[in-house]
Amino acid sequence: MPEARPSAELTNRVGLHARPSVKLTQIAKRFSARIEIATSLDGPWTDAKSPVKIMRIKAVRGEILHVKAFGADAASAVAAVVDLVQRNFDEE
């Protein structure tokens, strides 16, 4: 099964917060792949399609977000999530 796991820094003002979390899950849900995120490569890994779980990570500005995905469209799913983080969630 294809797998990709790059990472991106959270450089937006507030971190993985209410609106960024919603945007992230909206993007993640467009893909059939299982997508997981974590602030450390050792995990814990969190379902990127669950805003409730993402908010529990409480990831703040400056943390590194690691992304991995499993499934047919894994590579494009990871690229889309990383791109969103690098665009600062289109916040400002």
Partner: protein, 535 residues
Amino acid sequence: MERRLIGKAASPGIAIGRVVSLRPVSGVPRAGAAPDLERSALRQAIEATKQNLRSMVARLAGDEAAILEFQIAMLEDPELALEAEQFVGEGQPADAAWLRSMDMEMARYRASYDVHFRGRVSDLADIRDGVLSHLRSTPEHDPIEPGQIVVAEDLAPSHFLRMDWTSGGGIALRAGSPASHVAMLARARSIPMVVGLGEAVEGLTGLTVLDGETGMVIGSPVEESLTQAQAQALRLSVGRREAEQRMREPAVTRDGKRLSILLNISSLRELTGLMPEDCDGIGLTRTEFLIESALLDEEAQFRAYAALVRWAAGRVVTIRTLDAGGDKPIPGYSPEGEANSFLGLRGIRLSLSRPDVFLVQLRAILRAAALGPTRILLPMVTLPEEVGEARSLVNIAAEQLARAGLAFVVPPIGIMIEVPAAAMAPEIFPVDFFSIGSNDLEQYACASARDALQLAGHAHNLHPGTLAMMAHVTHFARANKIDLGLCGDAAGNLAMLPTFLEMGIGSFSVAPGCVAELKAAIRNHRASDGTSIVA
């Protein structure tokens, strides 16, 4: 009997109105039924709450809609009700199970050290109460009359948005936070709000005055307090209109003294809607935000600085070199894991330790300076050697640009006055100008972290000890004809303006949103009697 309570100011303005107390959703607890029935009651209640929110979102836009969209996304996530469904499976009624699971979820947020995450507790309370009201068949909330002062433990964003604020009103909260979504909404709609008033709010009844500038709430005000508040409210509303109309005019006191008003900016976007004529230039460019993703990209930095210089159209543009570290880390640049980064490698110290990064920034600034008046401002300077080393690097940058055949100008170099030792010995620095950074000066002088000071509210005034340091450096600068300005948050604190003017500060750099009111306050100030009409 008049009662005065002090809380944290969360949204400015004066509200005068009758108190209406919001009680938490109560209703009659469910008797409970078979787990299957309770589980389906919970799912229906969640569905009904989502529908309510969706119909509200349809009438809203922008930030207001986004806050409710977050709540809808949380309610759509099966994970949210997972724990509650487990409790139902163990035989608890749906309402008790939901309350218990949501209180656990809220406790996770409260435990966060990040103010933004703690602020989301009220969104979760909003979700909790919406679902609970459906499970217990109670009306979601009491009706509110326009113009009333809402008193509550905390106020949920969806609740705020359901109320009619067109005739004004105010908000007084026992708990709450100036960083909450509802505080943001209140500021956007100009609804005065005070939070953190404590248990005393429960005694508020009848006519009440709420001052969102000072954080004061007066219950059952005596005639004199009421008249004062009414006059103040009138002044504020007339004042704001007048101030905005006269924003383009220069800032001149009643006795004819012309002051400079400059802008603090972190991004080009903040200049949207502003004309260079509204100000005397840019007094502080926070490059750690403007170019933080382009530390080694000279062209990107040049484009950003050049855009500022072109916008200013001949007015001075002050570019502060990277002030990273402390509460403004830049991953991969500022040191990680330093025990006390506020007192460690930050600002100019960090720049001098990374000349590769610093030279990129200096070259970009020198090139932009060829397009119009520009100044270099060095942050966190403590020793004269730091200025000397920075000057040497500026000279190296100039040589590199000359060799490359690129146009450049070596601009004046100044320093931030934000380290107390520097404020008390300004004579040791060979510089062209000083800029007082009141935020850091205050936190270093008072041994109080910057965010702790922020939590103390908008009405925070500087410590007399900090003022004494500011006066020292200001007198030195005036006696030696060195340009000096104030660029911390205190520059926009109108209550302190008379103090600063008396001290001899003639240049203020503030957030773009503060320019109109600061200019209005200066127009009403007369130096001879040391008073301002608008305090």
